[in-house]
């Protein structure tokens, strides 16, 4: 498989009054062309910040402190801002959590798409761009007449499809979707996920799907990356991570998913405690205060990344050969 994006030792820091907070701390992973990578974790674990960092759009007072992001052979962190801008929307596209607020209320739907196309391909005429937009949204199951509508005239599901459409308009190599279904109701969510699955096959989409919904990952993703308190806990193929779970945090996360098939008398397991404050994170492995399998070493040293089997790795002392 061809790697599309290689993130190495990425750290994003927010400068706060109480001191620096590393919302993303020394994170590395590789994204392959044509795959959907589910990025999961609790609220505040840094997954959304990581998503914004991939576009180099972390909001101040946050900034990328160190690392590398190799995309199409270039390190995104070394590009001048103007070059980076040209990548946004054309090569890397973003779908935001709330489709209600992510479209300009004073701009027609069609003009959103036309503007994006013509920003990156100035030689395309307005009419041509409009026609492309019409074709596109028809594929997304929306009547081309709706291009003339304003965002408030569309439903949430339609708007989210438009957001995806903007990404597809220029055949972006990578789509980052940050909780794209969180604000949709379950039926619309199911339809939207179906659409994403179709589009993945049709357009050979590469996507980072940021979510706290394990179910969405199970349905849609090829691989899954689990983040905890700013660090990567486990990465692997969905099947491996779900069935041969390595990290105790991932185990806890999976056990806490309610199932309709839950048998009588079987109680839903929950992870005790809360994620740590990133202002003053616990030493060693950040999960150790909540970890049922914590050892003395977990309190003292940060676990190194272990490739337990090809393509399936974790940062946990339980799998450190020398330690074990």
């Amino acid at each position: 498989m061809e790697p599309l994006l290689q993130v190495e030792n990425l750290t994003v820091t927010y400068e706060t009054r109480q001191g620096p907070v590393h919302a993303v701390d020394d994170v590395s992973f590789t994204l392959y062309r044509g795959e959907i990578l589910g990025l999961v974790g609790e609220s505040g674990c840094g997954k959304s910040t990581l998503g914004m960092a991939l576009l180099r759009m972390v909001r101040p007072p946050g900034h990328i402190t160190s690392g590398k992001m190799l995309f199409l052979g270039r390190d995104l962190l070394r590009l001048p801002e103007e070059e980076m801008r040209k990548l946004r929307g054309r090569h890397i596209s973003m779908v935001f959590q709330d489709p209600m607020t992510s479209l300009n209320p004073l701009q027609r739907i069609g003009d959103h798409i036309v503007e994006t196309i013509r920003t990156h391909e100035p030689q395309v005429s307005k009419q041509e761009a409009w026609d492309r937009a019409a074709q596109l949204i028809q594929r997304l199951g929306i009547s081309p007449d709706r291009l003339k509508d304003y965002p408030h005239q569309l439903s949430g599901g339609m708007r989210q499809r438009i957001m995806i459409g903007i990404g597809l308009a220029l055949n972006a190599d990578l789509i980052i979707a940050d909780e794209p279904t969180t604000s949709l109701d379950v039926i619309v969510e199911a339809q939207f996920l179906d659409l994403l699955r179709e589009l993945r096959d049709e357009f050979n989409l590469t996507m980072v799907l940021i979510t706290h919904n394990i179910g969405v990952v199970a349905e849609l993703a090829d691989r899954v990356a689990v983040m905890y308190a700013g660090r990567m806990a486990e990465i692997g193929a969905v099947r491996d991570v779900f069935h041969e779970t390595l990290h105790p945090y991932t185990k806890g996360l999976l056990a806490s998913v309610p199932s309709i098939r839950l048998e009588d008398g079987l109680e839903l397991e929950t992870l005790s405690g809360a994620p740590p404050s990133l202002l003053d994170p616990p030493p060693g492995c950040r999960f150790h205060p909540r970890c049922p399998q914590a050892k003395p070493v977990c309190r003292e040293a940060v676990p190194a990344w272990q490739e337990v089997k090809p393509g399936h790795g974790t940062a946990c002392w339980l799998y450190d050969e020398e330690e074990a």
């Binding site: 929307g89 973003m94 935001f96 300009n104 990156h120």
Partner: protein, 339 residues
């Protein structure tokens, strides 16, 4: 559009009681105020019988309620009466109509300066938040807001008129130049329409200082308002989304964000229009600008009741029309607003 028509009709009808109250107040205040239109129009020391005779012919000796009733009756027929002083018997409507274009020209030019300077500087300050430019513009906004408009006018006259000699300091056009042919009454526009370049240049030069005075004076509010609105809009998701689409920062700020920040700015423009007219009264006096404001001030000194009442009614109708226009503009800018 039918509902918009209905809305406009209701709004128009609602201005009638407003104008009625205003007219009544002005009518009473003028009668309570010391001073007399007859005495101020004739030579001092004229015999009392003569004064009484004039008062009688003008109907000023009738009981107040009769005068008030007659005035309202005339007003209902769009008759603003005739002047009492300094010259008797001129049509007030004609006088107002004669002075109105000068005020309109100054007001439009002033609003233009305010819009460009105020909104432009506010947007720029928001774009470059916490920069030296931002702090300077905020300071500028407070200063111009606090400065009395006539003093600002005097300073402009002194600096740009007297010392630098860049601009004339009084009137609409040089006394030696010929006023352009009457088309709209706006000298700059008329001279442009008739191709009279000499008059055009001359009237523009005359317009610059008063328009800057009025425009800069009002711009302070708009710098602050635009800046704070822009800061709010720039935090919104659709702005982040536009940046994530690779839209250039300038387009994001001055296209997407500014347009969204415009609604409250336009509201403020409408509200400030009354202030603009008040500022126009003072600015016109400072620059000897022969408009409605200066006309009003002059007639107040002569106690020319019909002219004063007439001018106030016209100002009131103007303010009401502008606020109506603002409401229509909302619907035009924001597709979510429908009446």
């Amino acid at each position: 559009m039918r509902s918009l028509g209905r809305y406009l009709l209701v709004r128009t009808l609602l201005t009638i009681p407003m104008i009625f109250v205003l007219v009544t107040l002005v009518f009473l205040i003028l009668r309570v105020m010391p001073g007399d239109p007859v005495k101020s129009s004739i030579r001092p020391g004229a015999p009392q019988e003569y004064i009484d005779e004039i008062r009688h012919t003008l109907g000023l000796d009738k009981p107040l309620y009769v005068q008030y009733g007659e005035y309202l009756w005339d007003l209902l027929h769009f008759d603003l009466g005739t002047t009492l002083s300094p010259v008797r018997g001129q049509s007030v409507s004609e006088q107002i109509w004669e002075h109105f274009p000068a005020t309109l020209e100054l007001a439009l030019a002033g609003i233009l300066v305010t819009a460009v300077v105020g909104v432009g500087a506010g947007a720029y300050a928001a774009h470059h938040r916490r920069s030296v430019a931002d702090y300077s513009l905020r300071l500028y906004a407070i200063i111009v807001y606090a400065i009395p408009v006539f003093w600002l006018g005097l300073m402009f006259q002194l600096i740009f008129g007297v010392w630098l000699r860049w601009f004339p300091i009084a009137g609409r056009i040089s006394s030696l130049a010929v006023a352009p042919e009457h088309v709209t009454g706006l000298y700059t526009l008329d001279s442009l329409l008739t191709g009279n370049w000499v008059a055009f240049k001359d009237s523009v030069m005359h317009l610059i200082l008063p328009a800057m005075t009025l425009g800069l004076y009002l711009s302070g509010v708009f710098v602050r308002l635009t800046r704070s609105n822009m800061l709010q809009i720039l935090k919104m998701d659709f702005i982040t989304a536009a940046r994530a689409r690779g839209i250039p920062e300038r387009t994001v700020v001055y296209g997407h964000a500014l347009k969204n920040a415009l609604i409250p700015i336009i509201t403020m423009m409408g509200l400030q229009f009354a202030l603009l007219l008040a500022g126009a009264v003072l600015t016109e006096s400072t620059f000897s600008w022969p408009g409605l404001g200066r006309f009003l001030v002059e007639r107040i000194t002569y106690r020319d009741f019909p002219s004063i009442q007439g001018a106030v009614v016209v100002f009131a109708v103007l303010v009401a029309s502008v606020s109506l226009l603002v409401d229509v503009l909302y619907a035009w800018i924001d597709p979510r607003i429908r009446y």
